[in-house]
Symmetry: C2
Subunit: 125 residues, 2 copies
């Protein structure tokens, strides 16, 4: 995989934010420094970066969100403000403990939660 300046800009943008941006978000932001950046290029690069495991995708929503944090963690989406928040649960442990008895080869897992985030909960009080 080559590293074009567009690709680097896209990757460093994703790595630099906590917000789990969508392809459109990424396009809008990176376009500021690359005015000619096309949306197709964003998608192509996202797929390349995914294939090389440099980023991950969150697909539970209608739109795909991307995450530059590739450490083992989970996601929580607030139904009120729609933000996606990183959380850490010991999912790996229960997958390793209970997984083997089903007989399948489990390569990856993902725990996704929804509800009302701390901020929204306090605001409505």
């Amino acid at each position: 995989m080559r590293f074009s300046s567009q690709r680097e800009a896209i990757l460093s943008y994703i790595r630099g934010v906590q917000s789990h941006p969508t392809a459109l978000d990424i396009h809008a932001s990176v376009k500021k420094s690359f005015p000619s950046l096309s949306l197709g290029t964003v998608y192509r690069n996202l797929n390349q970066l995914l294939e090389h495991h440099l980023i991950t995708a969150i697909k539970q929503d209608e739109v795909v969100h991307y995450d530059g944090n590739i450490s083992d963690h989970q996601h929580f989406r607030c139904k009120n403000c729609d933000s996606i928040i990183d959380l850490e649960f010991p999912v790996r442990d229960i997958v390793l403990e209970h997984g083997p008895r089903f007989g399948h080869e489990i390569h990856a897992y993902e725990l996704y939660m929804t509800g009302i985030c701390k901020n929204c909960k306090n605001e409505t009080k």
Copy 2:
């Protein structure tokens, strides 16, 4: 919510299979007994059934899959044969145990796994 014959046919089809069908699958199958059934009707009913918690949706794939089993369970998708298999992990326990310390109100959770299923693993041996 009224119960039209189409709606009943769609629900009983989903409840009667283990395969986690897509809207197209459901349309194709239920159309055999309701030749005039339109795809729009299938989608509208799926959304109604979801709202009333009579079915659940699996959104990790490119296409949405539907599940008539509303008990607490998890899903595993085989990357080889693409089938989705029900599994039971004690996810509820770790969400109840570790969830509260983050301060968010967790309403729902979903653990999704991918890998190679038992059958495909044995076939390639």
